[in-house]
Symmetry: C2
Subunit: 337 residues, 2 copies
């Protein structure tokens, strides 16, 4: 079996990342990673008449851009695998009307980029597909009004709050051919440490990150220093600090080579984004933009991408529930060890 | 490649269905299939203090029952794959806190049973797992208040409306060993024919059913008569009639051996369930109860299970959107052809 240890798959014929695309909104396009995106859209409505339709259009545009960059025809791609944060995942589901590929919908909250990458890579390695399109999205305005307050209300945000990224990222995966490759997949369990503060998602998700990281290093026998970069999804400044400590408690020193997409996409001081970026589109647009560029230019050769998701809903919060979280890790490497 | 035609996978080492479990609520336990369920729970709250927590407990109980019936330890099972209808899939996500397996969350609305069975079967056939737990749930009370009206409002239901099943079904899949086997998987595309009536889901989903069926028969070269039973998820009485007609338009005569879980689980006249049952738990509990019993007793030997999902949300409906739908087909057979 390709399963090693308890939670990890070592891919037999590591799939290639054939192409990638990332599209973001105006605010993300003014941040430190502005040069890494395929497109920066100034219109928060993306030409539509609602923020939810805007998010769906963002997904369509990003997925079509990835297909275009791959040089493939849609008929060369057997599956699309995607999801988002919106109730009933209408961002991805409505976009799939025009994308028109056989479709598996996921819900993994902000872990969706890693989840879709995991499932897609296994479908290719298992010889069920030659190409798979994976990706996800989030939109500040659709998330804010669904999970928090109407935008017009102008609610104050505590310093621990994060800013949902308007962005989408997509990858086209293909059969083993050229670097970068997806080499290992460590699938997370739901971890709930009892945190109930929906304005401190990083703190709620950090234990899931540490749990999956521990499993990854135990299963693979690798050390954190093996990777050029260990990258969490959207723990933000507070979650990042907790994650480093929780890993240290497990004798995993990730501090020299660890960063978080939520700490990278905005200049949190200058852009008033408090603890950092969040949302499925945060890790998706950072991975498919900035990180993929560094992998292709060989500035990075070994990346462990660990997207984290907070699996709460407004209903569960109103019912006094704590916040379950999950983290999925995917190793992306330019050379096979 | 194991992919044949445009949308179908023919599994190389068809996975076995090792065990199954189905738990339902009181009303389902008074219907025609009452003797096929593992448990009928009289308390709509399942001992909890909200309907959402009740649904999560229903999932926990059903998944644990399937594990118990399989005789396996949790450590023998590498993945759980599940989802539900609730915003952010809190039915499955919260249940996974105690189930504790590496977890892929799905959103496929009422197609989730077929979707989870599809992905789980590929993970086993691809040698990524020896056992996978798949399943889904719905709860009348949590769905009604999320998608329609508060229960206390006592809203009138049109004759085309369906009744969300309180139920959950789960399967344990294992490596190729003993019948019944999962032999073919046809993955659906999102189909949207412009229907906007959220009280006529069967009509909205029937075209997706016909689309996937057409792909399945084209890809496999099989005829509808090959199967002892072609079983749709929850099209209900109206959707079932439309489905037969749409298939006939494609020269597929399914009328002799076709039925719909939504038409089977209730006595729609006597139980006042209008056009029939619906919800992820409808097809899940019918498949994992009644149909699996018929497969194990060899009363049925070739079943094509086609669960359909309406991918709308209350927000999309309020914004005037039509209803995208999807259908995934899975062939379950006692002998390999």
């Amino acid at each position: 079996m390709k399963h090693i240890g308890t939670q990890t798959v070592k891919l037999q014929y590591p799939p290639s990342i054939v192409a990638e695309a990332a599209i973001v909104g105006q605010k993300e396009g003014e941040g430190p990673l502005k040069d890494s995106f395929d497109q920066i859209e100034g219109d928060a409505f993306f030409g539509q008449d609602s923020f939810e339709k805007a998010e769906s259009t963002l997904v369509e545009n990003t997925f079509n851009k990835a297909i275009e960059k791959s040089g493939l025809q849609k008929s060369d791609i057997q599956y699309a695998i995607a999801g988002d944060l919106l109730d009933q995942c209408i961002g991805a589901n409505f976009a799939m009307r025009s994308i028109g590929l056989p479709f598996f919908g996921l819900f993994g909250a902000c872990s969706t980029m890693a989840e879709s990458l995991s499932v897609g890579s296994m479908l290719i390695d298992g010889d069920f597909a030659s190409h798979v399109l994976v990706g996800t999205s989030s939109h500040f305005c659709s998330a804010e009004r669904q999970f928090r307050f109407p935008l017009d209300y102008g609610g104050q945000r505590p310093p621990s709050a994060q800013w949902t990224v308007t962005g989408s990222g997509a990858l086209i995966l293909g059969k083993h051919k050229a670097a970068p490759y997806v080499t290992h997949i460590t699938t997370g369990k739901v971890v709930d440490m009892g945190i109930k503060d929906a304005n401190s998602m990083g703190g709620a998700m950090a234990p899931a990150f540490a749990d999956t990281l521990k499993a990854h290093f135990t299963d693979t026998g690798r050390q954190p220093s093996y990777y050029d970069l260990i990258l969490s999804g959207d723990l933000g400044e507070i979650g990042k600090a907790i994650a480093i400590q929780l890993c240290a408690d497990e004798n995993l020193d990730i501090s020299p080579n660890y960063n978080d997409c939520g700490c990278m996409i905005f200049d949190n001081q200058a852009q008033d984004t408090h603890a950092g970026g969040s949302g499925c589109g945060c890790s998706a647009s950072v991975l498919c933009g900035h990180i993929m560029a560094l992998l292709r230019s060989k500035m990075l050769n070994r990346v462990l991408f660990v997207a984290t998701g907070a699996l709460l809903s407004p209903t569960s919060t109103m019912q006094g529930e704590s916040i379950p979280a999950i983290a999925h890790a995917v190793a992306i490497e330019n050379e096979l060890s």
